[in-house]
């Protein structure tokens, strides 16, 4: 839910499974008033969730956005999903910012990463 303008460009690394990934794929409307501020606020807020591991975001200009949040366990995800401020942001997203979106909540069974030497 963010454009992450100051995030260093590197994918979140692999963690020791099991952990959770919440995949949020979306296409925005033309009505983006307040989106940037809310997105930045959510990005700060999620860091306070115990068990939050990290977040990846990519945005094709004029196209699809994908945000993947990583969480240590189901409790961490529940805390984030039920956060009152987050729920208010989700409601505003449906009302104004998103043309369509999909959420996939998944338990990671294996993972690996690669970094060029």
């Amino acid at each position: 839910m963010s454009d992450h303008p100051d995030t260093p460009v590197a994918p979140v690394p692999a963690f020791e499974p099991p952990y959770y990934a919440a995949v949020f794929t979306s296409v925005k409307t033309g009505a983006q008033d307040g989106y940037g501020e809310t997105s930045a606020r959510m990005e700060e807020l999620v860091k306070d969730v115990p068990g939050f591991l990290g977040m990846d975001h990519a945005q094709t200009p004029g196209g699809l956005g994908i945000t993947v949040g990583y969480f240590r366990d189901a409790d961490a995800l529940t805390e984030w999903r039920t956060d009152a401020e987050h729920r208010a942001a989700q409601r505003r997203g449906r009302a104004e910012w998103y043309e369509s979106y999909t959420v996939h909540v998944a338990k990671v069974e294996r993972s690996h990463d690669f970094t060029r030497e």
Copy 2:
């Protein structure tokens, strides 16, 4: 692994759980010779995997790319992971195209989607 130039802009919808999501997050090098052709070929090839459900892709210009492939079951994912042409593409990716990447393979436990009326 694709820029999906002619994909209609809509997220892949939610499927009935359980299913699998393979999340591939990457940052590219400056050496992209052959990437476009291979990416287009992989995009075609994966469609032939029985149990392949769909794929989302987003690419921040100069930044992170995220591809999420959806598969009905672990067998479908195994078939794709062990495909000889796909493995050759992965090797070339590590040798030339990717600065860094992470793969998270996860079993989707719940999902939902939203489309504006």
